[in-house]
Amino acid sequence: MNYKCPVCKKEWPTSLQVARHIFGTGDKPHREWVGSKGYSYIDLLLEQVSAPGNKSYEIMSKLVEEEQDKIK
């Protein structure tokens, strides 16, 4: 099963790839979607760079997975 971006509906085989796409795109609609889920896009970015591990990408992957059923 492919995972879709909740904003632009582009598809990738894994939710991590969608997470990368969202971070990499970073335009207003994508940032706002992250905001609507209760997270700050910028803070997640900074968390990713300032702490070891891959926490922010994992959070985003989870958000993407949770959203799949709602994407038309």
Binding site: G24, I42, L45, L46, Q48, V49, Y57
Partner: protein
Amino acid sequence: MSTEIKELKFTTFKTNIKYSVINKRVHNIDGLAKVTGRATYTFDVKLPNMLYGKILRSPHPHARIVNIDASKALAMPGVIAVATGKDTPGVKQGIWRRYPELCDEQILPLEKVRYIGEPVAAVAAVTEEIAEKALELIDVEYEVLPPVFQPLDAIRKDAPIIHEGVERNINVTRHIEWGDVDDAFAEAEKDGYIREDWFRTSSQHHMCMETRAAVSSFTPDGKLTVYCSTQSPYYMQALLAGVLDMREGDIRVIAHYVGGGFGGKFELDAAIFCSAVLSKKTFRPVKIVFTREEDFIASKRRTPMHYYIRTAMKKDGTFLAREVRVFTNGGAYTGMGATALYLTGFFCSFPYKWRGYRYDGYRVYTNTLPSTAMRGFGAPQAMFCSEQQIEWMCADLGLDPYEVRRKNAHTECYEVPGQAYIQSCGMTQCIDKIEAWAKSKGNLGPNRAIGVSAAGFMSGGIFNWFDTPYSFSSAVVVINYDGKVDLYVGCQEIGQGSNTTMAIICAETLGVKIEDINVYSGDTAHSPADLGAWGSRQTLMAGNAVKMAAEDAKRQLLEFAYAEMGLNIVYDLDIKDRWVHVIARPERGMKYEDLVKRAIRGKDGQRIIGRGYYTPHRKGMISPAYSYMMQAVDAEIDPETGKITLHEVMTAHDCGQPINPLGLIGQLEGAASMALGFGYLEDQPMDEGKILNPNLVDYKVIRATEMPKTDMIEIDTYEAEGPYGAKEAGEGLTNPTAAALGNAIFHALGLQMKELPITSEKIVNALKEKKEKQGK
């Protein structure tokens, strides 16, 4: 100082072809014009009725432009025009035509200035002196805004916003990842070794012999001709069309001789833009030449970086995973810095195989001179951090650093997951050669050691952020009645020997002498579109286009030869050294000149024309091919003063088939001087955003007397994607040097230097710190 190629040895794919022109030591075909002073650089261009332009620059790092009053300047005798942002279409420009949000720079800004030295207005006058004086008469009212200079300050919540709408001043982010990084780190935590380090790399000026310069001439028929110092006439033509609201075809860009580029001259600069705007206003030619100081303060720079690297390896030295985080100081605008951000992340994995690799890069706007591409394109910064950390990890574990590098090195036909396909690769041979060389030197005595570093680099970039609709490189070969060949190329000669390389490839392919070739480049009116001289792309990309064009022309000639000679169709013909012959019976043939004459008559008087082009396909994300190298720096350090004495730089280098060994030596020496400067001398310290050393007294570049002996062992592989097996040779040689110097200092004094440049002062301080720690 001397350079020689010690050895030429085929290692990867041995070819039995004997070349007539390739791999011969050829002097640059434009050398005579240069050494006799007849080469016309932009500085030398003088047109009738020409005006001289000067640029007024911002004294503030961050300010709103409230008003510009040029009335007093315009009243000054000899002043013809003043241009401000209001005289332009106000287009935010940049090389990122596929990504408009990254096109963020108005060269004459309408609302805000974002760094000290940013252009605010430009004057055209009958003399340069009058233009200079007139600048003092322009009144600019600013509303000064709070500035921010460091990326780690600029991302804070309360930091001033430099570009409206760009949250926390984060300009661009880049992420690269493959494999299960966390799993690999977990394995290392159980039974391996993990090390993390923080580094800082510095700024560097491109230091071209020729400063930015342009002469623009706009005529009443709506045509614009621009003579300029650029790495890409095609880019300048297209970018000018965008910012001036003109058609590309109405703009002609001429750059016959260029005094160096090094990555700093393929964006639109203020000399080009302001001279064009002033010429459009006055209908007279306008010349602008940057002073050396202007070049320092307003022509962009190498990207300074904050680097964090965490690396995991098995106890036997097998690499497991690497995690890299980078913040770069982007300065006020995007420029080419976004690509440097990607490439530094990619090349920090080079030239090794990793089970898992993760990179997060952040480019941050600050109120400083914008950073951009510079020779190595982010890779020298990556290698400085990566290769020192590898050396330290080997020391920590008691492993042989040569063996560890060999164990993990790229090999032929390796795929960097999701990123790159490696075809030819001479990395392990490079390691073998440098290890043997270093060991042959024996004991060097106290405070002196050899440090090594591996590296690799791309042979041109695949990325098409410019969104060009044209082939990446194109060439046209025209054979005339007397056998002379006109070669039209869009690739750009900037002093690196591009025209000579193209002439060699053309001559070899056609089977003629190099003196039979006339190369025409650097003029958009005659040269086919080509992306230009950056990213080590020309030998492979333009070389392939030239080879294809020459093969096309040669095929047409040989068709006539077949008919003329009445041969059995199973016989093959070729041309070598101007002799058209049957390959199996070389004595049977005819003169090239005779064949050309007959062929042209046979084509109803048409000259023989061959066309060639090249655009990479199915070669991954980065480049069609990669060079490899291992470099050793022999350095001695005075522990009292921290002074570094460089004894020798030896490089084992895989650039595929060398096209011109003399050109290769020139690239090696140039790269060594630039990269050693990056390693221990060059920096651009700032105070409140103002560069403190914008002159050649205070900005230290390596001098001839400080230049060590540089030698090369060429590892001669064959790259299937390159013309005659050639790939990158030149830019990549900048990558390993600072790291090798750092490793020499590590082995000589036991210091781990994490900040560039490694100045004498830093060495003395590090020694003091080491002694204090030992005392405790």
